[in-house]
C-alpha cells in the first residue's frame, strides 16, 4: 500500500519562475502561442479617432497600400527603407540620409511601444512581463488585421530604441512579433538614456501619422516611490502629448506577486535596474500588508495618470489569460471608446 504524499510534485515546466532568481536567457513563450489568430478574427478594435488622409474619408475605406501623399522626412534606416525613397534635398541639407515617407491613405496605422527594460524580464507564472507584453501586442495586432491596416513596433531598450517598420498583413505581423521575441534580453543594470517617458516621447514625435498607439509597459519608474495620485508620474506628460493626435491604449502588465507580495522568508532582494539591495523579511505579515496597500495605491496612481492623459487602460497579469482579458476589454471598449478618447478641448477629433 503506497502512502500518498500531501503535496504534488513540481510541474515539469516552471515557466518564467526562473526570472525571479536570474535574468531570463530567452523568451518564455513560443511564437505560435502568443495569440489565437483564428479566434480573434471576429473581434474588432473600435477606432474612434479621425485618421489621416483628408481625401479619402474615415477608417472604413477600401483603398489599400501606401499612398502618394508626401509626409515628413525621417532618417534613412539601412535595410528597412527603399533607396528610391531617399529625399535627396533633405539629405543634402542635413548631410544625413533621409527618406521621405508617404502618407498611406486612410488606413489605420498602429504603433506598439514595447518596454523591454530589465524590470520587464520578470514573472512568477508562465511568462515574463515582457513576453506577456508581446502577447498583448500580438493579440491587438490580430484584432486590427483589416485590409490595409499597418502595424509597426518600437522596442524600447534602455540604451536604444529599435524601430520595426509598420507593414500590413499577417505575415508582416508575425515577422514583427518574431523580432520582438528574439530581441536579446536586456541584461540587468543596463544603463541608457531611455526611460518610458523618453520612449513615449519618441513614439509621439517620430511617428507623425495619426492612428492608434499601444504602449506596453509596467509603468514603474525606477526610484519613484510616490503614491499620491495627484502627482503626475514622469511619463504622464509624453503620454498626454501622444494622446493629442492618436488613440492611445496603455497595456499595463503586472505580475501577481507584484500586487500580492509573496511570503518567501527572509532573503536578499535586488532590483534588476537600480542598485537596490536589501535583506527583507517577507514573512512579516504587517510589512506584507503595508507593501500590498502601497502597491495598490501605486497602481491606482498609474490608472489615474493614464486616465488623465486620455489613454485607454488595460491591465494584464501574467497569471491570467491575456486573450480573455483583451477580448473583454475590447467588448467593453466599443461602448466607452467614444467617451474615453475625447480629445482635449480645442483639438479636433
Amino acid at each position: 500500500m503506497s502512502v500518498q504524499p500531501g503535496f504534488a510534485p513540481p510541474p515539469e515546466d516552471l515557466g518564467a519562475v526562473g526570472s525571479v532568481l536570474a535574468e531570463p536567457k530567452s523568451a518564455t513563450i513560443p511564437l505560435h502561442k502568443l495569440a489565437p489568430e483564428a479566434a480573434l478574427r471576429r473581434l474588432e478594435l473600435t477606432i474612434v479617432r479621425r485618421l489621416e488622409g483628408f481625401l479619402h474619408g474615415d477608417h472604413q475605406g477600401l483603398l489599400p497600400g501606401p499612398g502618394s501623399e508626401a509626409n515628413d522626412a525621417r532618417a534613412y534606416v539601412p535595410g528597412q527603407d527603399d533607396v528610391r525613397k531617399i529625399d535627396w534635398a533633405v539629405t543634402a541639407r542635413t548631410t544625413v540620409p533621409h527618406v521621405r515617407d508617404t502618407i498611406a491613405d486612410r488606413e489605420l496605422e498602429i504603433w506598439a511601444l514595447l518596454d523591454v527594460t530589465p524590470s520587464m524580464n520578470w514573472g512568477t507564472e508562465g511568462v515574463t512581463k515582457r513576453d506577456l507584453g508581446i502577447a498583448a501586442i500580438a493579440t491587438i495586432g490580430f484584432l486590427s488585421q483589416k485590409m490595409g491596416d499597418r502595424f509597426g513596433g518600437l522596442i524600447m531598450r534602455p540604451d536604444e530604441i529599435k524601430r520595426l517598420p509598420a507593414q500590413s498583413g499577417r505575415t508582416a505581423l508575425y515577422g514583427l512579433l518574431r523580432r520582438m521575441l528574439t530581441e536579446p534580453i536586456v541584461s540587468d543594470h543596463t544603463t541608457g538614456p531611455y526611460t518610458l517617458a523618453a520612449g513615449v516621447q519618441r513614439l509621439a514625435r517620430a511617428e507623425r501619422r495619426r492612428g492608434m498607439r499601444v504602449v506596453v509597459s509596467d509603468f514603474l519608474t525606477p526610484g519613484d516611490f510616490e503614491l499620491d495620485a495627484n502627482v503626475a508620474p514622469e511619463w504622464e506628460r509624453p503620454m498626454r502629448e501622444l494622446a493629442v493626435r492618436n488613440q492611445v491604449l496603455a497595456v499595463e502588465v503586472v505580475d501577481r506577486h507584484e500586487v500580492e507580495f509573496a511570503d518567501v522568508g527572509e532573503l536578499l532582494i535586488r532590483d534588476p535596474e537600480t542598485d537596490f539591495e536589501r535583506y527583507v523579511n517577507t514573512s512579516d505579515e504587517a510589512a506584507r500588508e503595508r507593501m500590498d496597500a502601497a502597491t495598490a495605491a501605486q497602481r491606482e496612481r498609474v490608472r489615474v495618470a493614464l486616465r488623465r492623459a486620455g489613454a485607454a487602460h488595460i491591465q494584464l497579469r501574467t497569471d491570467r489569460d491575456w486573450v480573455h482579458d483583451i477580448a473583454r476589454f475590447v467588448l467593453a471598449y466599443r461602448r466607452t471608446a467614444g467617451m474615453l478618447h475625447q480629445p482635449p478641448a480645442g483639438v479636433t477629433k
Partner: protein, 320 residues
C-alpha cells in the same frame, strides 16, 4: 585568574585555530556570493519605503559568537595553564632549632639536639593541621630549612634532616625566622602573617647581631618568641679533643621571650606549648597556584555558543 599569554599543556592542538581565519574567509565568500544571488524584484522603490530595513548585525553577531566559541573551545582543547588563587591559612609557627655544636651535649638524653627534634616533632604533631610550619636552623649561619607549609610530612623530614653546624647566632636566627614568616601566603593587604616563633636552643650566643635587638624587632612585628631551653649546667661537649662546658644561657632565653611578648619554657613543660598556637589568630590568605584552566575556557566557549545559538534562533522569521 588568567595568565596572558597562557602556557599550554598541548600547544600543538592550537593549530586548529588556523581553521578560524579559513571560516571567516568562507563566511565572507558566502556573503559576497549571496549578494550575487538573492531575489530579483521589480517594485523596489516602494519596497524600500515600506519594508523596514532588516539589519544584518544579528547575523554577523551569531557568526562572530560562533567563531569566538570555537576560539575558546580550541583554547580549552589545548589545555591552557592559568594562575588560580587558592585560599590558604596564613598563620605560621616558625620552629627555630639550635644545631650548634653545643647541642650534641648528652646531659639531656639522648642528646640535646635529639631531644629538641623529638620535642619539635611532638609539637608539630599536636599543632592543628591548618597552621603552617616553617623550620629555621640556628647556627652561625641560620637558614630557612622549610618555608611555611602545612605539609607535616615535609616538616618531619626537614626536622629529621637537621645536622650539627658550627657557631651559634641566636639573633640572626630570629631575624631569619621573621624573614621566613614573610614567606607565608600573601594576604589581601601587605600586613605580615600572624605567627609565632618557637626557639629550641641552649642559648649560648656566639656570633651575629644582638639577640635582644632581634627580640625587640619581633615585638614590633607582633611575633612572640617562645623559647625552650635545653641542657643542664653540667653539660659539656668534646670539641677537637677538648672538653668544653656548655651551660645553657637561660637568662638570655628568658629575656628574649619576655622582650618579644612570648614565654620561656623548660624541656619539662612541653605540654603547655599549645599556648603557642592558641594565641595565634587565624587568618586566611591566598596563594597563586598554577592550574589548568581548561574548564574556564570551555565555559567561555559554552557561553559564546549559547549566545550564538540564541542569536541564530532570533534570526528565524517565525520566532514564537
Amino acid at each position: 585568574m588568567i595568565e596572558w599569554p597562557p602556557t599550554f599543556v598541548n600547544p600543538e592542538r592550537l593549530w586548529v585555530l588556523a581553521l578560524i581565519p579559513l571560516m571567516i574567509a568562507g563566511y565572507i565568500f558566502l556573503v559576497l556570493r549571496k549578494k550575487k544571488t538573492g531575489m530579483r524584484f521589480t517594485n523596489t522603490s516602494i519596497l524600500g519605503r515600506v519594508v523596514p530595513k532588516q539589519s544584518q548585525w544579528r547575523r554577523h553577531l551569531a557568526v562572530a559568537l560562533s567563531l569566538a566559541a570555537m576560539f575558546a573551545l580550541s583554547f580549552a582543547w589545548a589545555r591552557p595553564n592559568g594562575i588560580e588563587m587558592v585560599p590558604r591559612e596564613r598563620a605560621t609557627v616558625v620552629l627555630v632549632i639550635d644545631v650548634s655544636q653545643s647541642m650534641q651535649a648528652t646531659d639531656v638524653k639522648p642528646s640535646r639536639l635529639d631531644a629538641a627534634k623529638a620535642a619539635a616533632l611532638t609539637f608539630i604533631k599536636a599543632l592543628p593541621s591548618q597552621y603552617n610550619v616553617s623550620l629555621v636552623s640556628l647556627a652561625g649561619n641560620p637558614s630557612v630549612r622549610l618555608p611555611p607549609t602545612t605539609d607535616r610530612v615535609q616538616a618531619t623530614q626537614a626536622i629529621n634532616g637537621l645536622k650539627l653546624q658550627d657557631s651559634t647566632s641566636v639573633g640572626e636566627a630570629v631575624y631569619t625566622a621573621l624573614a621566613a614568616l614573610q614567606l607565608a601566603p600573601k594576604g589581601t593587604d601587605s600586613s605580615p602573617a600572624p605567627g609565632a616563633v618557637v626557639l629550641l636552643s641552649d642559648g649560648q650566643n656566639t656570633a651575629g647581631r644582638s639577640p635582644m635587638q632581634s627580640a625587640a624587632e619581633a615585638k614590633t612585628q607582633g611575633v612572640p618568641i617562645y623559647t625552650i631551653a635545653y641542657g643542664t649546667d653540667n653539660g659539656y661537649v668534646d670539641l677537637d679533643g677538648k672538653r668544653e662546658r656548655v651551660p645553657p644561657d637561660k637568662e638570655l632565653l628568658t629575656n628574649i621571650a619576655n622582650t618579644s611578648g612570648g614565654q620561656m619554657y623548660t624541656a619539662e613543660d612541653l605540654g603547655q606549648l599549645d599556648k603557642v598556637y592558641n594565641n595565634i589568630r587565624s587568618e586566611v590568605g591566598q596563594t597563586p597556584v598554577k592550574k589548568e584552566t581548561t574548564a574556564l575556557w570551555a565555559g567561555y566557549g559554552l557561553a559564546f555558543a549559547v549566545v550564538a545559538a540564541l542569536a541564530a534562533v532570533s534570526l528565524g522569521a517565525r520566532w514564537p
